[in-house]
Each structure stands twice: as structure tokens, then as C-alpha cells.
Symmetry: D2
Subunit: 294 residues, 4 copies
């Protein structure tokens, strides 16, 4: 994390000799000062022989005022090289705040935690609004000066309700949607509409205990650790690329209520870390997995 | 944690044959249903030969409606046995909420975290007021319906200011005081006035990095983990009995700002766990150490 | 852990008022000094209303020379009380070493680790023999003065081979069998013959990744932590009661080989902890779960 | 970790624009395939303004057969660029095994652990000999086919004994010396003679509990976690650059003996990780700290 303004260039492409040299060369040639850089070549299951499909991932932070031009021109100038390398890429500006829409139900812990980080600017984002299927946190959210949208979901209004959520998200020009223990399953078309933008916190150490009531499942199985998983939402429930996970120790004396309580602490910590990686362009999706440049 | 009303009997005494039998016998004789019980004999450095000073610690939760009398009568009837065993003891009622006064400065994370737990009744306490040397969180605290006292501390008013804090704490009949990253050092007489009632969260893994700016110290030393310590406040700064500790991994790429940020997550988690142990009478002080019956 | 000789009494029974009082009373009445004691009432899913089936678990360590009689007489005298409480129980003597048979294949890490602990008497057991389907570690084991039995398993000799393992285990009067990364699946009749005696270390955080090649499964799913599980072996593969688990963090740069390597460290640590709990009668099986009195 | 032969180039230099571009350019120009690469710019306390002394660290793995020449020629050709950048650097060949001399006293756990990893080639090194001030492990070490030198240390022979250790280390052309719970303090001149080559495992979470009997110190202070620290040995006892650390949770019921036992597990794990980082040139010393390219 740097206090100065910087650009973050991230992307991936088929591996070949000389990628770093060419990308870093492009930046150096314009006087760009690289503050931080990370590279990873994914050789799949360990067999990177000829003909295999090794993919190359990279992320660089470049001091903004070390370059003689702004992002639009950077994009223009970098595009030919990126095309030559068949690179999927993006560049973002630390001075432009990300716009994160939070979805919440009745559980408070992730919401308080996110607003706490936002309040102190540790999480230096815009929260254009909070959306909920309950009005539990309306006054609390509005007290922070953040608009609150109550969009109830009933068996009869699902299509309309999720359309409303899309409309709000588009209206406020959200670039990330956080399901902060939003206890509803988003419809596939909504998931598909915003790939790599929707982040969920699941209250188990996936792939254990998919689906409903994971703490009850964990209690029944008698595991000695419980966990939480932050992942991108895809059309397949609980199957999206995992961004971050963590666990906490429990023992035989812990009831399901105790597990829920311990779990909250893990959930909010894991969500906060995963969201930060996402916001800082540290997460590169690699099929159903992620590369995380911490 | 039980959903039903229960009494918690905790105490310590010199070890001898038959303590459990006599205490559990007393409870059984009145039909008391023990929900949870823990015992520990501290044999010091491992040498518990004749003449050594082994101390015995215990904690029991007894279902309230299994006993034919209430706390006042329990105390009356139990006293002779306790006296015979030279036991220091207390009994509390899960239906009587503890009264916890929170002291805070300008950092938000522990305050948000505690209010989040209070809001959901996970932390089932009264917060009669929040006291701060700044007015940063006045509106936020008051929004929760909790009184806020702004008691500035200046080089010139120290004695008066701390006297004011004592007065407020006594007035609201606080039974626990939480320094939730309250960045001032309490005067010795205040610490001495409330032994075992004042809980602090120190932002290092004590005994490493006592005193000011522990993250700077940690950064200079190049440690690979940073931590936090929840402890009782005594007259000796950073030397009180430790209740709970935890750590998180860092690496060479983390700046001091990053460490502060990671540290916040550990601080609030450790404080919340330590406070819960305290509130549930799970912490028994043993000279400068603690017995924690988790 | 006590350096003095002690007896460990452990058991479980239907919960009722007065169990601790009666058991501790029995011990006190004979002058028994309780060094350590633990109790747990399992109220299932948290609903312990009338008619529910709450089970009570206990474990006590009693200083051997504080009692006026030896184990045989203790058993005789305690039986009536135990019967009255419908208690399933046992008592063991810290001076009688447990007899642990180790089964191993070609992986060295758990074997070296166990023998290291045995060599230093940290693990104060008899190892009457090591059995393997390969002869890889014959010389190494024999160098320690421990007999080694090579029992190859082929598609054609399975029944005979497992019968041979049973014969050896019975012959040496083993009381515990440790599968120290023994890469074969024991037949159901062998598992059923020694309930609560056979301990396995599975190289995943169960219930994730049951069956073969869990690290490959973990790699494919892109999890951020991998783990290991120590459990009792039952007729249902990977489904037995879990004794201990732990995890370690990995990231996108770790190959399957790296995961196998990290995993080894977790496997041996988890197996060693789980085995210790078992040997010290700290594990009480509760249907398909365990109570662990650490 | 790659199964193929590769060269590891690591080094550090004053930061400036274009370092990555020039180094990666040099490699690309000769067709070198970069398998893994890491960079770090240390901006000290976060103030990297003009005039500050930002240092740049890097590590690259290059596929050996992608380059048209061998190490000697690489060194020749790379030197002018390195000199221009004022870079301190080295390059090593994964096909050349490191020569690690192990020093041990009477504790077995780190020795068994290292030999276990060596036996399975997980630790793919030469161990030209083990040196000890006791002959406890002579037969065990020799059984592995590794020479064992018994060099007793007495109050009267210190200078001669440490001279003998130096002679042996030089004779076998050791490039790393591991103090695997070697319970003697090396003299300053020996430490100074092999900077960055001697690795110690200290049985506390430094900087807590420096000096003797750290578990006793930890017990007295009542900490809730104990740890271990792997560090380079310098002339200042327990003050060398930290390579790796970890901790484990304890509680009030743990005696000093229990802490010693838990500690062993952390010590061997931390030493093994730290040693691996060292052997793979992942550790770059930065004054009294380390950069670890995991």
C-alpha cells in the first residue's frame, strides 16, 4: 500500500520468453517508476512441457507522476504491445475511488465491519448505497450518510426485485457488489451479468458444507475447525473462484450458537481481506481459481 | 454458552483432597444441575511436592431453576463451606447484565466491533456510557442510544479529568471498564481502585514491544508475525495479567501502515474474546497470570 | 501432563443431577487427590429440554499413591457406583505403557516423527513392532531396536495379508494401531474388530476431499488452506470420529508437489497430537463425534 | 519449486527507474525463460522521498536449458550490468546441491526432522557431516551414512573446540551451518567468519524471551502463545536477522514440560521452513532484517 498516487496494471497472457522484459521495458522507456510488481506463470498440474498451456499473470504498481502521460494515453500506447502478447489487461488509478454496493440481510457483523473500515478510510472507497431485503439497518446506514434501498424479496416478486437491484447497481455506476451475509441466492442471469464483480462471503470452509446451514453441518460432522470463504459469485452456487479463506478452532463444548458467533469473526475478517485484494486489483481469475498477488 | 438462566460460581483456594467432592456435593444436595464445570490445580513450576503452594481454581455453571433458592440464599448457605476451604469466590446470575463502560480515543475499530456485538445481543451487556478524550464518536455512539462523555485530557487537567472518569464510572455503577484503544495511560490510583475490572487491548504480542508505537518497533526488528494482547490493567504499564493474545503473519512488503491495518483486525478480535471471558467469569487471576476456563 | 504416577478415570453416562458429586465423593472418601478433571454435558443441538438425551462425559487424573489400593481394587469398588449411573468407563495407570503398533507404507515423515518422539520418551509408549506393505524402512526401524514386519498386499493375497496383520497385532498385544500414512484401505472386518483402537491420518481437512489424491483435488478447487485430519477408523472410509485437525496456508504459486510437502508437516503434527490425546484417554467417542479433554 | 534444472539469480541494489526492464531484458535477449520472479523495493519507514535510500531486491528463476551458456559465462556477461546498477548479486544452479553441516546437542527433534526430509529428498542437499558436543546421536547419524564428529566443549577447551568446528566445516566445504538446537553460544569470531551462512532456531518468539530458558520465562509471564524463531546468527546473541517465526496456543493448564513439548513441534517446523528459504536463495538480508521471496 502506497500513500502516493499510482497506476495498477494487471493482466494475463499465454507465457513466452521476454514478457517481463517487454512490459517493464515499455514502462522504463517512459520513465515509469515501478513501486511493486508480481508475476506468476501457472503451469497447471506441474507439467509445463512443450504444447502445454502455461498462462502468465502479472501486476505492477507504477508511480503516477513518474509517467509523462495519463491513463487514456497509457492505454493507447500500451495496447499494441498487449495485443501482440494476446494479453487480457486493465489499468486503474489509485486516485479514482471504487464504487462498492453492499447487499445485506439481517446480520450486522459484516456491515458494521465494512462501515468501520470505510469510516476510517482504511477502505478508501465510495459506497453509493446499501441494498437490503429487510429494513433492519436503514437508520444505521443512513446515519453514515449512505443511501439505503429496501428491496424485499418474496416468492412472488423475485424477478422484479432482482431487476430492481440491477437497476440500482447500474444507476449508481457500481463496479463491485458485496454480499455481506446477504441471505438470498442471486439468480443466474444477475450473476452472469457482472462476472468478477460480485463477492460473497460463505460461512464455511469450502468445499466443505456447501448450501444451507453450514454450521449445523459442521456441528453434526464434529469438525475441530470451522471457517469462512470469500469468493466470486458465479452461476454455480458456492462454486465460484475462491479469493480468501480462514478457519478458527472449536471444540466439543461449543454449541451451534457458539460456532455461529466464532464464525462471524472469521467471516468479517475474510470478507475484508478478500474485498481489499479485489479492490486493489490483486485478484486475477484463472478459470475457476484465482491468482492473488498479496 | 447456554440459552437458559444459570448461575456461575467461580473461585480459588489452597488445594487439598476433596474440594470438588464437597463443592459439587453441596450443589447436588440442593438438586443443582451443573451445566458446565472446570477445575485447575496450579502446581507452579511443576514441583508440587509437600510444602509447595498448590492453588486450586474452579468454575461451575448451575441451572438457575434447578436450585430451590436464589442467589442471596445461595451465598448465605455456601459461605461456611467456602470459609472452611479458605476460598475466594463469587457467584453471578446470567440474567443480570454486566455494566461495561467503554473508553475510546480516535480509533474506530474496537468501538464499532463492540457496538456491533452489542447491537446483535451477541454481547448481552449494558453499556451505560462511552467516555472519550475526543468527541470524534459522539454522534455515532449517541445514535445507538448510548450516552457519550467527552472528557478531554490536557497536560494541565489530568488529575481532574481522571477524577471525572472515576466519578462517571461510579455514577453509572460500572462493573467493567474497557480501554478500546484508549490512547492514554491511566494513573496508578485509578488502576488500583478497580482491580480486575479494567481491560486493555495492547497492540503488540506482549512482552514484546512494550510502550509506545509497538508497530514501529516490530517493523524495525523485522518480525514475521505481529500480535495483540488483552490484559487487565494494573499499576505497572503493560505488565498486567494477560487474558488473551493472537498474532497475524506479515512479510517484508508490509509497511508500518499495513501493519497498523492488520493489527486492527487482531486487536478487535482479541479484545472481544478477552472481554467475553471476563464477562462470563471465565478469567481467574492467579498472581500475575490468569486461569482461563474456556 | 504430570511427572508422578497417576490413574486416569474416564467415562460417560446419561446426565443427571449429582454425578460429579458422587464420583468425586467416591474418590475423596478414599483420600484420592485429583490432579486434573474435566466434565462435559452434551446437549446435542442445543435443545436439552425434558425428554432429550443429554450425555455426560468425564475424565479425572488421580495421584496413584494418594489412594490406599491399586487398580484392581479400585475397579471392584467403583463398579457399583458406575452401574448405578449406567456409566461406560475405564481406568488406566500412567505407569503401564501403551502398546502401539505402527503401520506404514513408503512415506517417511510420520514414521520419523513418531520414532523421534519415542526416542526422547516424549511419547512414552511401547512400539512392539512396525508393519509395512513395503520393506523401505526395515533397516531404519530395526536400527531403533523395533521389530519390522513386511506384509505385502497384492490383489491376490488381501484376505491373507490382513489376517496376518491381525495376527501380529494380537500376538504383540497391541492396544492401539496407528496408520502413519499407510496407503491401503483396511477391510471392514478389521476396522470393526478394533473399535476405537485404529487411528488414521488423512491428508485433507475432512469432510473436504475424501478419497484418493486429496491434494490434487485441493489444487483443482483452488482452496487457500490445506489440512489434515486425525480420526478413528471405522468401516466407513474417511467417516470415522475426528480427533484432531489443522490447516496451513498455501497460495497460487504452490504446485501440487509444494502442497504435498506442506501437507506432510501438518499431517505429522496432527497425528502426533491426536495420538497423544488418544493415549492419555483424553478422547471420548460420542456417536460419530469426539469429546477431547485437552 | 520446479522439477527442471534452473538458475536462481538474486541480488539487491539502490532503486532507480528501469532495473526490472534491464535485468529481464538481459535475460530475454539470450532467450532465457523466467519461471518465477519477485521484486521488492524497501522504502524504509514509508518515506521514500528524494534523497531517501530506497533499496531494490530481486530474485528470478531461469530455466537452465533456455540459456545458450552456463553459469560461468552468465556471470561474465551479467557482471557489467550488475556493476552499472551497483548490484550485490549471486546466481546458483539447482543441480548443484548445497552442503549443509548440522550442529546438534542432546535434543533429537530437529535432527530427526531434518534427516527425515533429507532421506525423502524433500530437502535435496548434501549433509557432509553432523557435529555435536555430545555423542548421543553418533550411531543414529552414522546409520544414515553421514559422518559424525564429536567435538566436546568444556570450559577449558573452548577456543580449540570452536577452531576444530571451523576446520571441519571448511574441510567439508560447507556452505551453510544449521544449529539444530545446538545448545552452545558460538564465539563472535566464528559468527563473523560465515556471515549469512549460520542458521539458528531459537525457542521463543523473538524479541520476547531472549537468552536462556525462554519457556520458563514464558511460563512466568503467563503468555497465551509460545513460539520459535529461525534467524541468521550474528555476533549479537539472538539479534540476527529473522528468517521465519511461528507460534502455538497454550493455556493455564500447560506446565513448562508441556510448553517444551509443544515448542519442539514449532521449532522443527520453523527451522525447516527457514532453512528451505535460505537454501533456495529466497532470503535476502537487508541490514538487520530479511526480505523473504516465498
Amino acid at each position: 500500500m502506497h500513500s502516493k498516487r499510482y497506476y495498477t496494471l494487471s493482466g494475463s497472457c499465454p507465457d513466452q520468453v521476454g514478457i517481463i522484459a517487454r512490459v517493464a521495458g515499455f514502462i522504463a522507456q517512459h520513465g515509469g517508476w515501478i513501486l511493486e510488481s508480481s508475476y506468476h506463470a501457472d503451469d497447471g498440474d506441474g507439467c509445463d512441457g512443450p504444447g502445454s498451456d502455461v498462462r502468465y499473470f502479472m501486476r505492477m504498481e507504477v508511480k503516477a507522476d513518474s509517467l509523462p502521460f495519463h491513463l487514456a494515453e497509457f492505454r493507447e500506447r500500451f495496447r499494441p504491445l498487449a495485443d501482440e502478447l494476446s494479453m487480457t489487461w486493465k489499468i486503474s488509478d489509485s486516485a479514482v475511488k471504487r464504487r462498492v454496493v453492499i447487499l445485506v440481510s439481517k446480520q450486522e457483523h459484516c456491515l458494521y465491519d465494512l462501515l468501520s473500515r470505510w469510516q476510517s478510510k482504511e477502505l478508501d472507497i465510495e459506497i453509493p448505497c446499501v441494498i437490503s431485503n429487510h429494513d433492519t439497518f436503514k437508520a444505521f446506514v443512513e446515519w453514515h450518510g449512505i443511501p439505503f434501498h429496501h428491496v424485499p424479496i418474496t416468492p412472488d416478486n423475485k424477478a422484479a426485485a432482482y431487476a430492481e437491484i440491477r437497476r440500482i447497481y447500474d444507476d449508481v455506476r457500481g463496479d463491485s457488489m458485496v454480499l455481506a451475509r446477504y441471505m438470498r441466492i442471486l439468480p443466474p442471469d444477475l450473476c452472469a451479468a457482472y462476472p468478477g464483480q460480485i463477492i460473497n462471503i460463505h460461512h464455511s470452509f469450502l468445499p466443505s458444507f456447501v448450501g444451507a446451514r453450514p454450521y449445523h453441518q459442521a456441528y453434526q460432522r464434529g469438525v475441530k475447525l470451522i471457517g469462512a470463504t470469500c469468493h466470486y459469485v458465479t452461476e454455480d452456487l458456492d462454486q465460484g473462484p475462491i479469493i480468501e479463506q480462514d478457519v478458527i478452532r472449536i471444540d466439543h463444548s461449543d454449541s451451534i450458537d457458539d460456532m455461529v458467533r466464532y464464525g462471524k469473526d472469521i467471516e468479517k475478517a475474510v470478507l475484508a481481506r478478500g474485498l481489499r485484494y479485489h479492490l486493489e486489483d490483486r485478484v486475477l481469475v484463472n478459470a475457476n481459481k484465482t491468482v492473488i498477488f498479496r
